[in-house]
């Protein structure tokens, strides 16, 4: 324990004091009624029956949570406050009309069946779908091994969006508690997944008491989201098709006659850590203004750490930098941005990642961009870019700073006739050739030997350069992500 850990009282927070604090914090017995309430819950008829997200039934017995709150009220002290975890901007200026809008965020609103029909041949662009949301209760789940974000599991958060109004959750009074039964929906319907780090339920009307029947009534809504999420590739083979067809929510655009506009999720990382960004939502929009066009519309924002960014973008993203850095993941509807310098396709929407500390764009994707990280980069043995330049396999992560990353002892090589143009010769043993992935905007030329140009056209690496560290590698393909200067 060093001096830094001493506090204003002069007592250090050493192991002994910390253990004492833990004992003091937890020096309470369980409430007297908790054992009986738990045993009553255990004895529910649904005991030991498997249940999945597509229809289930169980009973819930809850202790009266009001005990503590009522004590506080008795002292005349307000005992509740709005949690800071979920922030929601003022609803958009669009007037609430009561009728389902025909378009939101520049996107035509379609029905559930239209969306399902279009999904197989569509990309990951944004779509706006109208229907009826059925809030589902959060089940108590057993220990689960980590699984890909889009794979179904007991704890997967889902919203059922039905084309017609259906009441799927029914409450009934039974001896000793309340029976809650959820039924499978009637087609056409789709299951909407929440964006990583966010609680879709939090966007719905007050869910203060999940045991109240009124909280489960179907709600007419328009949801903006996308199919073919990049994270589908992480699913196991037997679930990949289902993951690919999953509808991931980006915005709850309209609910029960009211336009809601931009969704903003802060502090919702999967482990519950509270994030405190420097920028505000308005600040982020201002920082993006010069890069986006007048027809672009910000659909949603989520604050995540760099270490958690792949929980949204998928593991194809090779992000470098401090894992604790805060980033803004911003989903945009509209034409591709003028920056960063990437080979945009014809998509109607995409995403941009902004660094909270610097306000700089650090990554982007969507708009039909094909990342080299996916392995689908088309090789080009002859210069296909102006100025005799060769395209390189790139990621949608911009160069930020050189990173030491994983240790390497390798040499950079390149050839205009090689399918990937550049590669590393590994001197550490094992795999001798290592494929390379570069930051967005990087290109190569042969003058006559290899030169790597960054997005600004400056030469940042050459044939024969020693590479002592990379920013990361794809464990599946062995591809190494490089970001000069090499260290």
């Amino acid at each position: 324990m060093n001096e830094r850990s001493r506090n204003s009282t002069g007592r250090p927070w050493d192991d002994e004091r910390l253990a004492g604090a833990y004992r003091a914090l937890a020096a309470r017995s369980a409430p007297a009624d908790l054992i009986e309430a738990t045993l009553a819950a255990r004895s529910a008829p649904a005991d030991r029956k498997g249940r999945g997200p597509r229809g289930f039934a169980w009973l819930t017995w809850r202790r009266p949570r009001a005990v503590l709150a009522s004590g506080a009220v008795g002292l005349g002290v307000a005992a509740i406050l709005v949690a800071s975890l979920i922030l929601r901007p003022t609803p958009s200026a669009s007037p609430a009309t009561g009728a389902v809008p025909t378009s939101v965020e520049g996107l035509m609103v379609i029905t559930v069946s239209q969306a399902l029909a279009a999904e197989p041949n569509g990309g990951d662009g944004l779509v706006a779908i109208e229907g009826w949301i059925n809030p589902m209760p959060l089940p108590g789940c057993p220990v689960e091994t980590p699984h890909p974000a889009l794979e179904e599991s007991c704890s997967t958060r889902q919203l059922v969006l039905t084309e017609t109004r259906q009441e799927l959750v029914v409450f009934a009074s039974v001896v000793g508690g309340t029976s809650m039964t959820a039924s499978p929906p009637t087609a056409p319907y789709l299951y909407a997944r929440e964006l990583a780090g966010a609680n879709v339920d939090a966007l719905l009307p007050d869910m203060a008491d999940p045991t109240t029947a009124a909280n489960y009534l179907a709600l007419q809504a328009v949801i903006v989201g996308h199919f073919h999420d990049a994270r589908a590739g992480e699913c196991s083979a037997d679930q990949r098709a289902a993951c690919d067809a999953a509808f991931v929510v980006d915005q709850l655009a309209w609910l029960e006659g009211k336009s809601l506009g931009l969704d903003l999720w802060i502090g919702g990382d999967s482990s519950g850590a509270v994030l405190k960004p420097r920028l505000t939502a308005d600040g982020v929009v201002a920082a993006l203004q010069s890069s986006l066009g007048p027809a672009d519309s910000v659909v949603s924002m989520a604050v995540v750490t760099l270490g958690d960014i792949t929980t949204i973008t998928g593991k194809g993203l090779q992000a470098s930098g401090n894992g604790a850095d805060l980033l803004w993941f911003v989903r945009v509807a509209g034409p591709a941005p003028s920056f960063p310098p990437m080979a945009w396709g014809a998509g109607n929407s995409g995403w941009v990642v902004l660094d909270d500390a610097s306000g700089r764009i650090r990554g982007a994707g969507g708009w039909g961009f094909v990342s080299g990280a996916t392995g689908s980069f088309p090789p080009s043995p002859r210069p296909s870019l102006s100025g005799g330049l060769f395209p390189l396999p790139t990621t949608n992560w911009l160069a930020g700073r050189g990173c030491a990353g994983v240790g390497l002892d390798a040499v950079l090589h390149g050839s205009p006739t090689d399918s990937r143009v550049t590669w590393l010769e590994n001197k550490l043993g094992g795999q001798s050739r290592m494929d390379v992935l570069w930051p967005a905007g990087y290109r190569a030329r042969f003058n006559p030997s290899l030169e790597i140009l960054n997005e600004s056209g400056n030469v940042v690496a050459r044939e024969g350069d020693a590479v002592a560290g990379a920013c990361g590698n794809d464990p599946d393909t062995g591809t190494v992500y490089l970001e000069p200067p090499f260290k």
């Binding site: 506090n7 204003s8 009282t9 927070w13 910390l18 253990a19 604090a21 833990y22 004992r23 003091a24 914090l25 937890a26 309470r28 017995s29 369980a30 409430p31 908790l34 054992i35 738990t38 045993l39 819950a41 255990r42 005991d47 030991r48 809850r62 202790r63 949570r65 005990v67 503590l68 709150a69 004590g71 002292l75 002290v77 005992a79 509740i80 406050l81 709005v82 949690a83 975890l85 979920i86 959060l138 108590g140 789940c141 057993p142 220990v143 689960e144 091994t145 704890s155 609680n199 339920d201 007050d206 869910m207 203060a208 999940p210 919702g268 990382d269 482990s271 519950g272 850590a273 509270v274």
Partner: protein, 207 residues
């Protein structure tokens, strides 16, 4: 036999010596309890609940810092345990397994807390807020209350590993088994969690 039910580790260690299905202090004892509960024996499971409820509640308190949330997590833990017990392969590891279920339940409660959008403020916190509002210094503020506020700055994974290590006195090896994470991850997580907690404690104590 005078078993200490207030100490989970001690109780388990001693109860393993018991053979068969004995009643001890009104509680069925021995490894047979877990075996029986796995096979659907309700009294055996009830005995497990009674003997371990306090420990699970305290673990929840140390992770969540909120009495109501801790009670919810404890209840959720045992309901899930009853459902999943048949899949427990090694009854000797029941307590480690149960603690893992408890950590997972805390995770679920924490997620649900965000969904509720309101939270109940513990009485101690209200009292502290009143003192602050009145400008009353609080040099003797109890360490437990400082800790309760400080852990809110940590992720659930950090809270869990700290609670297991400092409250339950679990070694890194035991933490590895409970949380099902690699040794290296456990060590680095514990180190980072401790550093973050110290920072939060200093910040809270300075208020």
């Amino acid at each position: 036999l005078n078993l200490r039910r207030s100490s989970g580790i001690e109780w388990v260690r001693r109860s393993k010596r018991l053979a068969g299905r004995e009643m001890v202090n009104g509680v069925l004892a021995g490894r047979s309890l877990v075996d029986l509960a796995r096979s659907g024996d309700v009294p055996a499971f009830e005995s497990l609940v009674r003997s371990r409820m306090d420990a699970m509640y305290r673990l929840g308190l140390a992770i969540l810092g909120d009495e109501a949330d801790a009670a919810d997590a404890a209840q959720m833990t045992f309901v899930a345990a009853w459902r999943e017990l048949p899949r427990l392969r090694d009854p000797d590891r029941f307590d480690a397994w149960l603690q893992r279920v408890a950590v997972n339940s805390c995770r679920m409660v924490l997620r649900a807390r965000g969904r509720r959008r309101i939270r109940e403020i513990p009485m101690a916190e209200i009292d502290l807020a009143q003192k602050r509002a009145l400008g009353v210094a609080d040099p003797g503020r109890a360490d437990g209350e400082i800790l309760r506020t400080a852990i809110r700055h940590l992720s659930l994974d950090q809270r869990a590993i700290l609670a297991l290590h400092h409250l339950d006195d679990r070694s890194v090896t035991e933490v590895v088994e409970i949380l099902a994470i690699p040794v290296g991850t456990a060590k680095s997580r514990l180190f980072k969690a401790r550093a973050d907690l110290e920072m939060a404690l200093r910040e809270e104590e300075g208020r």
